[in-house]
């Protein structure tokens, strides 16, 4: 699965079907501090993602 990290770095991971928030935790990312997009669509972090999907993790800058 292709994962775009908050710093825009793209990594590849082989995964079994997993809940997104578990993937975030395995990457040491607090789910409440990011927005996630599955295959380009914003989704809640308890959605299940599979190896063929793409996950984008978006962090928001402080301030604004």
């Amino acid at each position: 699965m292709k994962i775009t990290l908050p710093d825009k770095i793209i990594i590849e991971r082989k995964i079994q079907p997993s809940v997104i928030r578990d993937i975030l935790k395995s990457l040491d990312i607090n789910p409440s501090s990011v927005i996630v997009a599955k295959n380009g669509n914003i989704v809640p972090d308890d959605v299940i993602i599979e190896d063929a999907d793409e996950l984008k993790i978006i962090a928001f800058a402080h301030g604004g």
């Binding site: 409440s32 501090s33 402080h62 604004g64």
Partner: protein, 303 residues
């Protein structure tokens, strides 16, 4: 695992899951839900009254982007309310230029009247030059000058309210920071009340939305633009407060809201404004609790 991720209203795929009450919403219904929560807070707390001229602090960053979009929706059902967007140009090289462009795109989209006021015009120089020999104080100096800039703008454009984009995260972080600093006056001060004849009430209509909800809202609206972080953003205490509250929120959903509720409860029982008429600065004549106001102090006018 039985987890149908569908909007509880229309059955389309959900974009968000919200707590209190628990619900899943598609993009359209989430945007409506967020707007309605802000409208409800405005009406319940009388943040805006019919006939008000509301100055909207529009930096062009994520929070003020959501603020102008949501207030533009609000005035559709409150045609007696007039919005005027004001962007403060502090004079921060390679940062403010981009956000001013974003602000200009927003006012073009919303049709809200827009003014830009600069630190150079009000205080004689850019922030970059004002803090050149004291960069470690840049954030607090900028905060003092920005607040004065908005007050001056409110006076200039005859505004009845100053609306800023502070969100639930900002508010919860401020409560914790005030506690950690032992600063009770700042904890209980409620600037939404104003002070007749002295300063314009400040309102925070987005304080019911989390930072995550705000960014989700502007992304779904198509107005999310990743912008550079302010080069002076080094407020270590706020970053720590943000991290701690983030961890607690993840473990105990509702933490941010409870922190703000706790502060509001204290405000109900403790007088939040000094009794009697406030003093005025002996140098500039603005409202102050001391002899010289903070603006004159940070500009070294008292030396």
């Amino acid at each position: 695992m039985d987890n149908p991720n569908l909007c509880g209203i229309c059955g389309k795929p959900a974009a968000v899951r919200l707590d209190n009450p628990q619900r899943r919403l598609c993009a359209d219904h989430f945007m409506k839900d967020a707007e309605e929560r802000v409208f409800k807070a405005i009406d319940a707390e009388n943040l805006i009254n019919d006939g008000d001229r509301v100055l909207v602090g529009l930096s062009g960053g994520k929070d003020s982007t959501a603020l102008i979009l949501i207030l533009s929706e609000y005035v559709k059902s409150h045609p007696d309310v007039k919005l005027i967007a004001v962007t403060i140009d502090e004079g921060i090289a390679e940062y403010r230029e981009d956000t001013i462009k974003a602000a200009e795109r927003l006012v073009e989209h919303t049709g809200v009247e827009h003014k830009v006021i600069s630190f150079t015009e009000l205080f004689g120089d850019t922030l970059d030059r004002l803090v050149a020999d004291r960069k470690n104080l840049a954030c607090s100096i900028c905060g003092v000058l920005r607040r004065r800039s908005l007050t001056e703008a409110a006076r200039r454009y005859s505004a009845d309210r100053i609306a800023t984009g502070h969100n639930l995260d900002d508010e919860a972080q401020s409560v914790l920071m005030n506690m950690l600093r032992g600063d009770r006056p700042s904890l209980i001060q409620d600037t939404s009340l104003g002070y007749e004849g002295h300063f314009v009430p400040r309102i925070k209509p987005l304080a019911v939305l989390s930072e995550k909800e705000i960014v989700t809202y502007i992304m779904l609206k198509g107005f999310y633009t990743p912008l550079p972080e302010c080069p002076y953003a080094t407020t270590a205490l706020r970053m720590d407060a943000r991290k701690i509250i983030g961890i607690l929120e993840e473990k105990y959903p509702g933490t941010k809201l409870n922190i703000v509720k706790f502060r509001n409860g204290i405000r109900e029982h403790v007088p939040c404004m000094p009794k009697g008429k406030p003093g005025t600065c002996r140098i500039c004549g603005e409202l102050t609790s001391g002899d010289v106001c903070m603006v004159c102090k940070v500009l070294n006018r008292d030396r």
